[in-house]
């Protein structure tokens, strides 16, 4: 099946701005257009300094000179925390037609060295604060050129204009199997991911973005940084998340790109201190990287009139695959598929092919990654409704096969229980009773502020009754046999996802 064309998103965007949403083949083409269209607009605010599009291009062109002086530099590691230096380095590498390999700032010295081997790095542009962690590489790989990211060349070097299929960036991903891999994205893929961030809301160009996500994550790099640069917007780099509300008060962003846990934190703090901590200028929160609770969408709309737009994406798809402009009427959906993709659903799993998809994992076996027609296996179980809206119903590896042979997707059931606003998190899993019977069990974490607000006293009894009511609406084989109300959070992975139980 072909995804819809961009026309399906037309009605959601200001007509004049919609006409300006065009496809570019490379980062260079996009960057040249932004510098030409908005030379004097501030593109980046960081550490008390402002940089216009024209100033950045002048600065980037000097760094291009430094990079180009090393003739072998085709794959360049970018080892910088969120900072202007990251932006400048990324643009310099990619607008030369070279490949940027994003090394997360938290990597230690040995891992940085390991990356030079695994990804065949010719050069690393490192932030001065991380120089210590390049020591092992300096000692063991003298052939890898190490350059501080604030280095300036004496002369200017023009950008190159590579074709769309030229490799652009390698991003780390957990892959669909949980093992860390490097996904190679072409220029066209990065540009499709970038332009996808423009669909589904009214005011797209000349916005004010706040960056709180790491630029080493595809959601931060593509949806936050690249879409901001594409749209002639201004990006404020928040150096420390604890300062985000102070930064918001000063910068007054119009768009925030955030994971659900941060969006929920901001909502709860706003309620506690009885003021909108996100500021009066904020119009939209682009929310993803984890399941977005419908409760959050409704609360943001009700309390502050802010659009919380859920979406779905993968590192392998250059971030966004779909986004939901009908967030109020279909809050459980991750939205409409963006243009230039083909998809199929095989045994419930979403398979993708298209301009935004990666060229492959670097240095990894490709067995099982693609199907016989070259479609990428996402590992996500989905359904699509009559109007083309996509819903994530689970992950393949999480599927529970009951002794009866029936397949249960825990995520699909959890969504049902999470419709109850009194529930913050839920986990459905398979357990075995004392007499050896396999059962489905449900554990939930209550949403205490909501419970306090409603003055509920006997929490366990109240929640169990409410959950039982939902349980009884499910087909018999999907019903849980045990409900546990937790008084503490679930154990979580470093990326804040719930660690799933493996009891059988």
């Amino acid at each position: 099946m072909q995804s819809p064309t961009k026309e399906i998103f037309k009605k959601y965007t200001d007509p004049e701005q919609f006409e300006r949403i065009i496809d570019y083949d490379s980062v260079s083409e996009m960057w040249q257009a932004s510098v030409t269209n908005d030379p004097d607009t501030v593109a980046i605010e960081d550490d008390g300094k402002r940089y216009t599009y024209a100033q950045i291009e002048a600065d980037v062109s000097r760094l291009r000179t430094v990079i180009k002086s090393d003739e072998k530099a085709l794959r360049v590691g970018i080892y910088c925390p969120n900072s202007y230096d990251f932006v400048r380095s990324f643009l310099a590498v990619t607008t030369l037609g070279y490949t940027a390999v994003i090394l997360p700032a938290q990597l230690d010295a040995m891992t940085v060295f390991g990356c030079t081997m695994k990804y065949g790095l010719d050069m690393i542009l490192y932030h001065p604060s991380l120089q210590e962690n390049t020591a092992i590489t300096a000692e063991k790989r003298p052939d890898v050129t190490l350059i501080a990211s604030d280095t300036q060349g004496d002369t200017l070097t023009e950008m190159a204009f590579p074709s769309g299929d030229t490799p652009c960036v390698i991003m780390f991903t957990g892959g669909t199997t949980g093992k860390s891999k490097g996904a190679l994205l072409s220029n066209a893929a990065v540009m499709q991911g970038t332009v996808n961030g423009c669909y589904g809301y009214r005011d797209v160009f000349h916005q004010r973005y706040l960056l709180i996500l790491p630029l080493s994550h595809v959601f931060g790099l593509i949806r936050n940084l690249m879409t901001s640069l594409y749209t002639g917007s201004t990006l404020f780099i928040c150096r420390n998340n604890k300062d985000m509300f102070r930064d918001i008060a000063v910068f007054r962003p119009t768009i925030l790109v955030a994971v659900p846990a941060l969006a929920e934190m901001a909502l709860n703090l706003s309620k506690k201190f009885r003021k909108n901590m996100l500021g009066d200028s904020l119009k939209a929160i682009i929310c993803g990287a984890a399941a977005v609770p419908p409760y959050l969408i409704k609360e943001y709309h009700k309390e502050f009139g802010i659009m919380l737009l859920p979406g779905y994406g993968l590192t392998e798809s250059a971030n966004l695959v779909s986004g939901n402009p009908e967030y109020l009427s279909k809050p459980e959906s991750v939205g409409l598929l963006y243009p230039n993709q083909e998809y199929k659903i095989v045994d419930g799993e979403l398979l993708l092919k298209g301009r935004n998809m990666m060229s492959g994992y670097v240095g990894e076996e490709e067995e099982g990654v693609y199907d016989e027609d070259g479609f990428f296996r996402t590992g996500d179980l989905v359904r699509v409704d009559d109007e083309g809206f996509l819903y994530i119903t689970g992950r393949i590896k999480e599927i529970i096969v009951l002794p009866s042979g029936e397949n249960i997707s825990p995520a699909e059931l959890e969504v049902k229980f999470l419709e109850l606003s009194l529930i913050q998190d839920a986990q459905v899993y398979e357990d075995v009773t004392e007499n050896g019977t396999h059962i489905l069990a449900l554990e939930v974490v209550p949403r205490m502020p909501e419970i306090a607000r409603l003055g509920i006293e006997n929490i366990g009894q109240h929640l169990t009754a409410a959950l039982e009511k939902i349980n009884n609406t499910l087909p018999t084989f999907q019903r849980v046999s045990r409900i546990i109300i937790r008084d503490s959070d679930f154990e979580r992975t470093p990326s804040m996802k719930i660690k799933r139980y493996k009891k059988c």
Binding site: M265, K272, V445, M448, A452, D487, S488
Partner: protein, 84 residues
């Protein structure tokens, strides 16, 4: 100037909001209660706590790592120092 006991009580109220899922544990906590191992704090709840403390006490945290705070008592001591 708030007394140490007053800071502790005010902090408890913040912790209840920062991680309301652990309300029973927090209600019964003392200064030796550990944020991560006893209360199961994660990076978001720690961030939440820091921001709420700044708002409530009118102080600004330095760029300290949250690993600097093992127990609730450590946080009380930090706030006490900032209020002086």
């Amino acid at each position: 100037m708030l007394s140490r006991a007053e800071i502790f009580e005010k902090l408890k109220e913040i912790l209840l909001f920062a991680d309301a899922k652990n309300s029973d544990l927090i209600k019964n906590c003392d200064e030796s209660t550990k944020l991560v191992t006893d209360l199961g704090f994660n990076s978001v709840s720690v961030l939440y706590m820091v921001i709420a403390i700044e708002e409530s006490f009118g102080i600004v945290f330095d760029n300290v790592s949250m690993n600097d705070f093992d127990t609730i008592g450590d946080v009380v001591t930090y706030i006490e120092g900032k209020l002086k």
